[in-house]
């Protein structure tokens, strides 16, 4: 076992994919000699040669557009968008072509390509370097949108994304690039379209993904000291959404809070909250709450702590979930003695 960071695990996944499949190509801005601004492609050009890992001209629309053409002709391109906001020039290619090619050609043309996008804030960067753009992508049918939260998932999900016959938007939580775990590579974790329970608990389910999984786990730990037994679900795949794992957790706990960095209004959390409500209504003790970023442009970076959800804000939301102990006078230990009243409880 070795201490491996998320960035390193992603690098190893690219390296192993390049070694295993001659059709895999890695390109984008500064991914060659520099190894990417986050060093995720470090050493690949040297190891596999300039025709397998290379710098392109500086144009995101054409990076994705050429990846479409390459995938049409049997390559498996893995392209990098340097930062979340700089994927936006490619948005038309992603929405109008990447997402629709399979459907428009009745399945005859598939696009096994991966668009890697470092996303999210918390790294002290100036404007345009901290956005959470997942909802733009998840709103687009035809795209798979996944986001690893751990080094093991970083490796496994990127390998799976590259092997996947569908196009995958692969969102990398940049503030977790340097977080490490004890790990042996290669490692395969759960299939990338499944959510996983990262921490079991009986009182409330925190639903998180990407950069917020670690924060949700911290909140769960802090909550334990306050007597809350908090479960944490890591979604991993945002589209498609693993409803079964989430629903079964919330039916057990009866309470749910969705956590993400992106602005709350119209965010991905709204979709999750709606689905959980539809499927768990009779099991719920309280409305499903969302804890997201403020509904303002990302404030870089001196004030970003006020924008980003943290442990306190998550636990405040948990506290607002209509706990019996707070309505029943004299409840002994502050622990919920809730009973499910819904159908099938």
């Amino acid at each position: 076992m070795a201490e491996i960071s998320l960035a390193r695990a992603l690098n190893r996944a690219l390296s192993d994919a390049l070694a295993d499949d001659p059709d895999v190509l890695v390109y984008g801005e500064d991914v060659g000699a520099l190894g990417g601004v986050f060093r995720v492609t470090d050493g690949l050009a040297a190891a596999f040669g300039e025709d397998r890992c290379f710098d392109s001209p500086l144009a995101e629309a054409a990076i994705v557009g050429t990846a479409v053409g390459m995938a049409m002709y049997g390559q498996r391109p893995v392209v990098e968008m340097q930062f979340d906001a700089f994927a936006l020039p490619a948005f038309e290619q992603v929405v109008s072509h990447v997402a629709k090619m399979r459907n428009r050609t009745r399945g005859r043309v598939e696009l096994p390509l991966v668009i890697r996008v470092p996303y999210g804030g918390g790294i002290g960067a100036v404007e345009h370097h901290s956005d959470s753009s997942e909802a733009y992508f998840t709103h687009t049918p035809g795209l798979r949108v996944v986001t690893p939260a751990t080094p093991a998932d970083g490796y496994s999900m990127l390998r799976e994304a590259i092997e996947c016959p569908d196009p995958v938007v692969f969102l990398e939580p940049k503030r977790r690039y340097w977080a490490t775990a004890e790990l042996d590579l290669p490692a395969r974790t759960e299939p990338m379209d499944r959510a996983v329970v990262r921490r079991a608990g009986g009182d409330v389910t925190l639903i998180a993904y990407g950069p917020m999984v670690a924060t949700a786990l911290e909140a769960a730990e802090a909550g334990r000291r306050e007597g809350r037994d908090i479960e944490v679900v890591d979604l991993r795949s945002l589209a498609p959404f693993d409803e079964e794992t989430v629903v079964s957790s919330v039916r057990r706990t009866g309470r749910a809070v969705v956590v993400h960095e992106a602005s709350t209004f119209g965010g991905y959390g709204a979709e999750v909250a709606a689905r959980v409500t539809e499927r768990c209504f009779h099991y719920l003790e309280a409305p499903v709450l969302r804890v997201g970023g403020l509904d303002i442009p990302y404030p870089p970076p001196k004030l970003e702590e006020y924008h980003l959800p943290g442990v306190d804000r998550i636990l405040d939301a948990v506290d607002r979930l209509q706990w019996e102990s707070e309505w029943v006078e004299g409840s002994a230990d502050g622990r919920s003695t809730r009973q499910h009243t819904g159908v099938g409880a």
């Binding site: 190894g35 700089f86 002290g124």
Partner: protein
Amino acid sequence: MKRTDGSAGSAPPLPSQEPIRLVDPGGNRVGEGLHPTPEPGTLLALLRAMIIGRRFDRQAGALARQGRLAVYPSSHGQEACQVGGVLALADDDWLFPTYRDCVALVTRGVDPVEVLTLLRGDWHSGYDPESHRCAPQCTPLATNASHAVGLTYAARRKGRDTAALVLMGDGATSEGDAHEAYNFAAVWNTPVVFLIQNNRWAISVPLEKQSAAPTLAHKAIGYGMRGYNVDGNDAAAVHSVVSQALAEARAGGGPAIVEAQTYRLDPHTNSDDPQRYRDDAEVEFWRARDPITRLEALLRGEGRLDDAELERVGAEAERLAADVRERLDGADGLDPEDLFSHVYATAPAMLRRQRQELLDEMRRG
């Protein structure tokens, strides 16, 4: 240039393969050709602004290393482009700068501390664009180029002859936004000069991987506008060519691309590691072609500059640096409440509630 029968119309001349140069690296005047060397007073102003700009740039770099700026993209070595371009602007003209162009903004007269506002990690772009006719510094590459086209179009509708200078890097010319802006400017015949600071690197990507064009100035021809290839370390040449291009554009001659050949001597930003992608020898080659020593040599050689004058400018530069250090250190006056104030003209109820929630949260600690 209009053509209706499918034949080619008259095209502007191709840019010269050799960059236009008025002062050689040794500080000697060279052929005037079509582009007059600026008057001595202008040359002195160019030198003065470059010296002050370089001191500012060095100060900002130091502040970034000390962690007092979030990031700083240096202009070191590119002073002639930024100063030469900006001093060619009339007061009413507009400047559209990028993250790289702090020296251009200081030269334009923007308060240096306000220039650094964004880069020190504040949530807004610092200076007031209207009062300086300087758009906010732009980071998404080439995306502000079309703004300049729209602005000058609007100015013409209002009967003004306002022109605009767009600053962009060599890498940025690869973006679709650059091409769209060039084309709009040419078709609408708006008075915009696109000054490309070709500093040979887009982070780690060299020019050869960016463009197969003979020069970036050649791109102009395909859009039906004039293209000039200029020595970007010759402030006199940059100033002369940009001034002329602006004058022609203002007179209805259409937009132009000016490519200035220069070099980014420093890392891309303080967090870049250029050892990974370029040789020191290349850096040293360009360091020897310094834009400041060149103009200084010319002016000294012609007896228009003495030690006393240089000392005076140096002292002014030091005062500016000290002032930046001092004021940047002061209370930054950041108030989280302000985050809600300018998202819309008037904050909707939803945002007012969020502001209140944040204030409550802060009070609880």
